[in-house]
């Protein structure tokens, strides 16, 4: 116990004396949260629309007005031919083109039916899907209005859909993204710092001096893990405070459950770092391998795209993706208020995972030169 104490004391002195590391520990969470939460959004706030109005009637102008009045659309250009409008799509100055053909108003009044054409820029298929959804909802709103005028005030659709969104009632994207970013933050801090720390001792040769001392393997590993565990937990707390202060992040569940799960999760994350440092000889190697795994794991974790919609093989691969577990659990706790019983499977999985990865790390770590 005393030996571990001396090791931890030494680590903390070194961390707090490190002129690059310390500011990073505080600055990274603020920057990541503020930038990523705001930037990585799936909401379309400004959809550029080009109008081709061949009808030039009050009805067609009314329809265009519907779009212009919406906070999501910005009607910037009017063209006289579809060809010119297509050029706007090509040079990326328009996201969508609305084409109202000649005789739109007449058709609507006489035949109670008229056509409108939309051309959507689908370079980004997700954005195109969203634009399509927004546009459809505006048009259906417009249809209802026309029907109401034609039939009278008592008009009602036979089956009306009323949505109520659970757990994120406003469909606030920040609240969805923020816990995800916290997962990445906590993992990177824990995993990277642990791995780099040990490999640095290898590079400097100080590990050799430790290897000739009677320090026990378990003492070394606990002494190396504990400081970074504390820092990673601090990082989570710090991130949550920022979330509450600046992003109205709710907390439906209990902090105790969240921190308990994080603790178990960190055994896996730091275990990865330890294992990696045991098989690497330079910081460069660690960085490179880590970068590869991080990128794959993060993209597959479900931070942007739900894991349920991934192909089956990808979901199977996610069994070994620690990010995926934490990503799921942190959202469950923060947004849904899940308790220990709800996440018990994830806790068991993480415990088994930790056991495996830590055994590997201990097995690979040798007290030899």
């Amino acid at each position: 116990m005393r030996t571990i104490g001396f090791l931890i004391q030494k680590e903390f002195i070194q961390i707090f004396r490190n002129k690059t590391l310390l500011p990073l520990i505080f600055a990274v969470p603020i920057l990541q949260l503020v930038i990523l939460v705001n930037a990585a959004t799936l909401e379309m706030k400004k959809i550029d629309m080009t109008v081709v109005d061949k009808d030039m009637t009050s009805t067609s102008r009314q329809l265009i007005q519907k779009f212009d009045g919406s906070p999501f659309y910005q009607v910037d250009k009017a063209r006289f031919s579809v060809k010119n409008a297509e050029a706007d799509l090509k040079d990326n100055t328009a996201d969508i083109v609305i084409h109202i053909p000649h005789g739109f108003e007449d058709d609507l009044l006489d035949e109670k039916e008229a056509d409108v054409q939309f051309l959507i820029n689908a370079i980004n298929n997700t954005a195109a899907g969203l634009i399509n959804a927004y546009t459809t909802s505006i048009i259906s709103d417009y249809n209802n209005k026309i029907l109401a005028e034609q039939i009278g005030k008592k008009f009602e659709l036979p089956v009306e859909i009323n949505y109520r969104y659970f757990f994120n009632t406003q469909l606030d994207y920040n609240i969805y993204m923020l816990p995800g970013i916290l997962v990445i933050l906590v993992t990177i801090i824990g995993m990277f710092l642990t791995a780099l720390n040990i490999v640095r001792e290898k590079e400097l040769g100080t590990i050799e001096q430790l290897n000739v001392t009677p320090i026990k393997k378990y003492q070394f590993i606990i002494g190396k893990m504990l400081p970074f565990m504390v820092i990673a937990l601090f990082e989570l707390a710090f991130g949550l405070v920022i979330g509450h202060l600046f992003f109205n992040l709710p907390m439906e569940g209990s902090y105790a459950v969240l921190f308990l799960f994080t603790l178990v999760y960190l055994l896996v994350a730091l275990g990865f770092g330890l294992f990696l440092s045991a098989i690497s000889n330079s910081q460069q190697q660690v960085m490179f391998v880590m970068f590869f795994f991080m990128l794959t794991f993060i993209l597959m974790s479900g931070i942007f795209t739900p894991t349920e919609s991934m192909p089956e093989w990808a979901q199977t691969v996610n069994v070994i993706n620690p990010f995926a577990y934490f990503m799921k659990v942190i959202r469950m706790i923060i947004l849904k208020g899940s308790g220990l019983a709800d996440i018990r499977h994830e806790i068991y999985s993480m415990l088994i995972y930790a056991l495996i990865i830590l055994s590997l790390a201990i097995w690979r770590y040798r007290k030899v030169a």
């Binding site: 030996t3 001396f6 090791l7 400097l204 050799e208 009677p214 026990k216």
Partner: protein, 242 residues
């Protein structure tokens, strides 16, 4: 000097693949002796030291240090030896006293013992007033002396020094050897490698390694007579050439 052997090596062999780094080494070192472990670069000195320190396993042979078998009980050996590697390996970003406290703690010294030993050793080096200085800013000669002091902090029976004086000025080198003599007088056995042949003359016994084998082993004076050379330097050249 008692006649007790503190290091016993018998037919030590270490192979890396097909390369034999240590070929059938056999020698004994007595308690309190200063053994100069000489040899050209790549002769296998560091390999042998690492095996004796318990951080590398021999391919075959028997090695015992301070009464413990290096294969069966390397961790027991570690409590009884001090080691100073070729590469400077104290923590550059800690102060002098933080380094002493850390290594003292790892070796199981009590807080009181740590304070006491740190004070003693630093006063001997005349560096007590610098105890709160970060190591990075200190000259190499000081760092080497500090590394030696850290290596003997827990009062080990044997101290292994791997080229402790390389890159150090002649005055510091002289001071360093005074430290080695002091430690030897306290009964510690010193196992030192060096490329300075004048230093070899200060040793009680020297061992000359060539291509993984020990070619000569004995007191400097006797060896010089046996090989009919004026100095250990000449002996080294004579043996290393063949």
């Amino acid at each position: 000097m008692t006649n007790k052997n503190i290091i016993e090596v018998e037919n030590l062999v270490k192979k890396f693949g097909k390369f034999t780094a240590n070929d059938q080494l056999s020698f004994n070192v007595k308690k309190g002796e200063i053994l100069g472990f000489l040899g050209a670069n790549g002769a296998g000195k560091t390999t042998a030291i690492k095996i004796l320190c318990g951080i590398s396993a021999p391919t075959s042979g028997k090695v015992s240090v301070a009464g413990f078998d290096a294969v069966k009980h390397p961790e027991r050996i570690k409590q009884n030896i001090g080691y100073m590697s070729q590469k400077f390996s104290l923590y550059d970003d800690l102060t002098i006293s933080e380094n002493f406290r850390f290594f003292g703690g790892i070796y199981g010294l009590s807080r009181k013992q740590i304070r006491q030993r740190t004070g003693e050793l630093l006063q001997r080096l005349d560096l007590y007033d610098y105890r709160n200085r970060i190591l990075r800013s200190l000259p190499l000669g000081w760092k080497q002396k500090l590394a030696f002091s850290v290596a003997i902090m827990h009062d080990p029976q044997v101290v292994f020094l791997d080229e402790p004086t390389s890159g150090v000025d002649p005055i510091t080198r002289r001071q360093f050897w005074e430290l080695i003599y002091e430690a030897s007088e306290e009964g510690k056995t010193i196992f030192v490698t060096t490329h300075y042949m004048d230093e070899a003359e200060y040793c009680d016994t020297v061992s000359m390694m060539v291509a993984g084998q020990i070619r000569a082993f004995g007191k400097p004076r006797e060896l010089k007579e046996e090989y009919d050379v004026a100095s250990i330097n000449n002996l080294f050249i004579k043996l290393a050439r063949n």
